[in-house]
Each structure stands twice: as structure tokens, then as C-alpha cells.
Symmetry: C2
Subunit: 190 residues, 2 copies
């Protein structure tokens, strides 16, 4: 197994374990067992646990936002694209492994104690917000404050789905989003 494969195996194991149980509940030894990579190699690639956590968040951010973008790109109508964000959230919430937002969870766990983790969480949320803003721009509607409002709905749905196990939060957010779009002049479905 070369360095590249080891790195991938480590990040895969880290993602599954950290997301599922929380960072502090997972030891480096658990990562080792789950990945099959020796501790020596682990510490060569990630000299401290914190760096593994940050790398996990960074890679997940990339994947998460790309998956969202691909899902959205399946629609052609710009309004539908905006609403598809909420559909996608709904499919995420329905995933059996769903356990809330990885970045919110990590921020709660380590944000006060690890600037790097706090930064990753901030970056992810800002990235998501600007992705959403771009989708709103494409509709031609006035972006402010519409995009921010839709972002609040999305974040609210994520947190509610995670904490209250409320998988319908996506649909409900979609409904509210449609109403806000209509209030701003989007053509209403008939």
C-alpha cells in the first residue's frame, strides 16, 4: 500500500468514525484498526490528530458540495435548481447514516479549543452559502436578502433534521423557500 492509498484509507476511516461517533470518542487506535494503516504511517501522514480532523472536514466539504452541485445540475430551470437544494438536503436526511451536520458537530466539539477546526467549519458554511447565492443569482431575482434567507432555511433544516430526527425538515424548508421565491417575483408553478 503506497502513501496515496494509505492516506485515502485513513481519511475514509476517519470520516466514518468521526462522523458516526464524534471526534473525541474515537482514538487514533480505532483509526488504525479501521483503516489497516499502521500508527507509524499514520503519524507520518498526519503528525497530529488535529490535522487528521481538519483533513477529514476538508475532504468532506469538497465531496459534499460537489454532490450537491451535481444534483442541482440535473435540473435546467434556475428556480428549480434553487429548490433542488432542499430536495437534496431531504435525501441526505433520509440516509440511514445521517447524524446531523459534520461541521456543526465538530464545531460544537472542538470549535472553542481548535482554531483549525473552527476555520474548517466556517469555510464550509461560507462555501455553502455562496453556492446557494450563485444559484439565486442565476434566477435573475434580486439576490439580497433572498439568498441569505434561503440559506437560513437550509441551515435550520439541517440542524432540525439532525437534532430532532425530523427527516421532513427538507420538504418543509423547500415549501418555505418556494414561498419566499414567489414573494420575490419568481413565477409560480401552475
Amino acid at each position: 500500500m503506497d502513501q496515496r492509498a494509505a492516506r485515502t484509507a485513513l481519511l475514509d476511516a476517519a470520516e466514518e468514525l468521526f462522523y458516526g461517533r464524534g471526534v473525541q470518542a474515537v482514538g487514533m487506535d480505532d483509526i488504525r484498526s479501521a483503516s489497516g494503516v499502521s500508527l507509524k504511517r499514520l503519524y507520518q501522514l498526519f503528525p497530529a490528530k488535529e490535522q487528521l480532523v481538519e483533513a477529514y472536514l476538508e475532504r468532506r466539504d469538497e465531496r459534499w458540495r460537489i454532490a450537491l452541485a451535481e444534483y442541482v445540475a440535473e435540473r435546467s430551470d434556475p428556480y428549480e435548481r434553487v429548490l433542488a437544494v432542499f430536495d437534496w438536503l431531504g435525501t441526505w436526511f433520509a440516509d440511514p447514516g445521517f447524524r446531523g451536520c459534520a461541521w456543526i458537530n465538530c464545531y460544537g466539539e472542538l470549535g472553542a479549543v481548535s482554531p483549525g477546526v473552527a476555520e474548517q467549519a466556517r469555510r464550509h458554511k461560507e462555501g455553502f452559502r455562496s453556492d446557494l447565492r450563485r444559484l439565486v443569482e442565476a434566477t435573475g431575482l434580486p439576490v439580497d436578502p433572498l439568498a441569505e434567507e434561503l440559506h437560513l432555511l437550509a441551515e435550520g433544516a439541517i440542524v432540525t433534521a439532525g437534532l430532532l430526527d425530523d427527516a421532513d425538515a427538507g420538504e418543509r424548508a423547500r415549501g418555505a423557500a418556494a414561498r419566499l421565491l414567489a414573494a420575490r417575483g419568481a413565477p409560480v408553478k401552475g
Copy 2:
């Protein structure tokens, strides 16, 4: 110092430290120093750290929701009362000690590992949601799905204010809430 005063001192210290730094970053010794209560007494009142954490969340929930209710009760118009929830969130976000939602943070930190903490977080969020629902009921507007939508906005504002340091999230959520209310037939200010 009698038992009652010791309990209060402990919960005060726990609240300040746990909220400010996260639960796992605070040792029982820190609680002892900050409260002035001896370890022996601490363990008499809270036989394990987890119970102190749960008691902290429970007392904070009570205070938080009462403070919100009192703020809201200063207005008499039922629509204004609903919107006042978002004003109150805005004042909370502006507090210099604001560091996001205590329950979301604790859930991220311990939710996967401590059922008691997960339960407290769930209870708080459900309590908040039903408080909001009652305020919407008082307007006479159809409650579903309006109340849920407003709840998503509020949660989104809380999480965004915490993570992105965005103190204006309250105002923005208030704007969106006003629009959703208007779309459901509330009389518009003019």
C-alpha cells in the same frame, strides 16, 4: 454554604465554563475552582460529570425559554409577538459571550455518546418549537406549516450566528419571517 447555595454555585460555574469552552475542555477541578465548592460536595450533589452537564442544560433551558417568553410578552399584538422572537434572538447574538447554541454544541460534542445529553438537546429544541407554535396559534393564522417554517428560520439564524459570527442573522430571519407571515394572510405593516 448550604447545599442549595452550593448547587447554585456549581451550576453557575458549569454554565459559564461549559458554554464558553465546551464540556470536554473543562475538568471537574475547573468547576471546583470556579465555584468554590469542594470536590466532595460536588460529587455528593452530582455523582458524575454527565449529571452536572444534564443539570446545566436543563436549567439553561428553563432560563432561556422564560427569558424569551418575557421578552415576547412585552408586545401585545400577536403578529408582533411572533416577530419579537427574532428580535430576541438578535439581542442574544449580540451578547459578547455568545458562542452559539449550547444544546447544539453539546449535542455535537456528546450526543453520540451520552443519551442523556442528546435527550436534553432534543427536549430544548422541541420546547422552543412548541413555544413558537403557540405564538403562531395566537395569531389565528393556519398554524401548519407556518410555525414549522418559522422554526427553521430561527434555527438557521442561531446556527449561522454562532458559526459565522453573523450577528445580523436575527434581523434577516425576522425579515423572512415577516414575509412568510404576510404570505399566509397576516396584515402587513404600512
